[in-house]
Symmetry: C2
Subunit: 464 residues, 2 copies
Amino acid sequence: MDEQISSSPSFSFGDESFSPQSRDELVRAVADALAEGRQEDVHALVVPLHYSDGARLFERLNAEQRRLLIDIMRFEFDAEILCDLDPAVREDVVACLGFADLAAAVRELDSDDAVHLVGHLNDDERERVLAALPLEDRTMITQGLSYPEYTAGRLMQRELVAVPAYWTVGQTIDYLRESPNLPEDFYDIYVVDPRHRPAGKVALNRLLRARRPVRLREILDLAVQSIAVTMDQEDVAVLFREHDLVSGPVVDRSGRLVGVITVDDVVDVIDKEAADDMLRLGGVAEPDLYRAVIGTVRSRFTWLLVNLGTAVLVSMVIGMFDGTIKQIVTLAVLMPIVASTGGNAGTQTMTVAVRALATRELTAGNALRVLGKEILVGCLNGVIFSAIIGTVTWIRFGTLEISFIIAAAMVINIVCAALAGLLVPLGFDRIKVDPAVASPVFVTAVTDVIGFFAFLSLATFLLL
Amino acid sequence: MDEQISSSPSFSFGDESFSPQSRDELVRAVADALAEGRQEDVHALVVPLHYSDGARLFERLNAEQRRLLIDIMRFEFDAEILCDLDPAVREDVVACLGFADLAAAVRELDSDDAVHLVGHLNDDERERVLAALPLEDRTMITQGLSYPEYTAGRLMQRELVAVPAYWTVGQTIDYLRESPNLPEDFYDIYVVDPRHRPAGKVALNRLLRARRPVRLREILDLAVQSIAVTMDQEDVAVLFREHDLVSGPVVDRSGRLVGVITVDDVVDVIDKEAADDMLRLGGVAEPDLYRAVIGTVRSRFTWLLVNLGTAVLVSMVIGMFDGTIKQIVTLAVLMPIVASTGGNAGTQTMTVAVRALATRELTAGNALRVLGKEILVGCLNGVIFSAIIGTVTWIRFGTLEISFIIAAAMVINIVCAALAGLLVPLGFDRIKVDPAVASPVFVTAVTDVIGFFAFLSLATFLLL
């Protein structure tokens, strides 16, 4: 028994031997074997891998190595690898694989994975893969693709176990033992009414604990929330996370059970949504670790250009005061401090707001209360930091006037930063624009413009 | 059947009626009922709630409302609400609840939740709650707390189903039907060897599909990775997410099965780790939506102070060139553009790097390749943006010299930004400091200092 385990192909996730190292080693071993044409070694290394480890491997290899590896693995290529790949690498692998093998791979997948994969092909590729599939699979995938992206309809798999409430535990177990086309994995059995609407679910461990003559309706969990096919995947994620679900029933407009979403897909959504928000706040449209140089330049270009636009705007604001600066150069030395501190305060509030919007914790019902709090926090931080910077300025330059001006500008900018940090994401959310994408540039523009303007205009007004 | 369902207490997650609205309504209804002293209405509204909805409700109420609500719910207080609460609100609720009721609540929890909850109390509270618990629970919790925070030992629950491989399916099912103390929920049965080391697992759906005389060893899934009790929870999360696990066995140093981690806990970890990285990159140490004003000011203060320090440093760099600025004020007008664009480029690279470190995609094995790519991306973006800003400057001010200087400073700063954006997080990760916390201030300092210095020193050198 023990030998069987240690011969298990997966990595060891023990204390000292976590994956980054072992993954690096695997990549090196495969790359060496590919370079030296040791096909059997490649085979022995790659075929037993879990598909996610296979996907990570493909992501690490270069284009030439990927092509070689696919040629060797062709007939044992695990289709699930394709679903798990970074999009940039997937394009590359799909191109190497060719349509016949791609279609064969799609047929092996569960319905949700197949829809996911085909949904990511470009139009031409999609046509050709669909054409290569048997009618039944084609219909199933086309139907799945008819749901909008990022909805429950796209996440769900059609394979599920649904039985009537009057069945006994024994009957259900016998059915499971005999039924040839059950889903590959399932955690709950759905009980449906005669019109195929979900009436509750029975977790498998409840089923196993009950005695054979017990009827399902006696052990049924009624507190089951149906998920509409059109529900946004972020809402699905919140539901699963908050209610600790492992599976949930998806219903169409008429309330009929049409599919089931399982927690493994939701885990990916949670991870991806959180990561996307983080990347977007950092000015990156999409994860681009595996993108080629040109693709990466292109994906980061827009954000830099928009920001350059606001930087030029800010420079125009400063230009309004060039006469003042010429007379008092100290202003040029100090002015970035006000803008920078305001920008940081605004980013703090904005980050909290974007996160709270994503988790549905910030709603119309508490926006006013949060706004009041953020203004108070801004006032307090404004007072503290204006005292600090006023003192520093006074020590450094010895002029009380400029110390007062920078302190006043600091209070104004930090309070405005708090307002912008909250209202900008709320506003974008209200008009259904992703606040993580759109907010940073606006918040920074506000805090830069107000920071420089408040400082330089106060100086012009009071010193000249 | 249908009536039973529509009377289900949970919110409807249907198409048009998603929770933010219904949650706002619930909060209002409970607040009104509390204000008007309608205890029975409060009861009817709150007791049937799922614990996560109860937690969200508590988070939304103010301190006085929370106290009233706890008085009404005291004997039906769902202990799981405590585990799900925001830390700031939990402190408040724990204080209202008192130690006797808190201890009673802890006893109702699964071992992982009990350890989690007690682990978040302060030392004095912890002592008193532990003292109020029966010996068995006390021992179990103390043992759980002996594992370091954020490790698998803290996440796992001790309740699990472990059976020998020679058992038949029938024997196992009979055992499940008769055993009085099974975990509340479970998805897999663990097969252990005589020394209680995990030898594989049987998903419940496999058990249900197999016939009674089949031995477990015939349907056993051998590719099960054991999780060391000391494994970092982020690594646990990566393992679950990549391998689509619903549960995983936790083993001690000698390889004995001591607990099991279930996906619902991992979902919370994934969500929290991603959110924490995002908040930290935005300069927020912890989610503070429900913190009081003073607590929020305090939690955001450090970051603002550190950034003020770098802003003062930057201002000193500018101060080195005040003579140059006095002669050519245009430099003061243009200088923030170089720093700002560099800062954005650096933030892009840093965000990608922090994310890739968190998902273990960026390792020693590919750091050099990624570095090469980021430098290339920086060079290309640098050339593009220096061309743009050079042209804009030339059009606006008509001086070829300054256009050339700003273009040159831009290339230098964007390339340095790419270097800093990658090397700073890598460096912090190498010395085991959280790159999300420490990187932003360093990256911005680098891009600001280099941006202003390159621009102003080139100007001083070439124009004066």
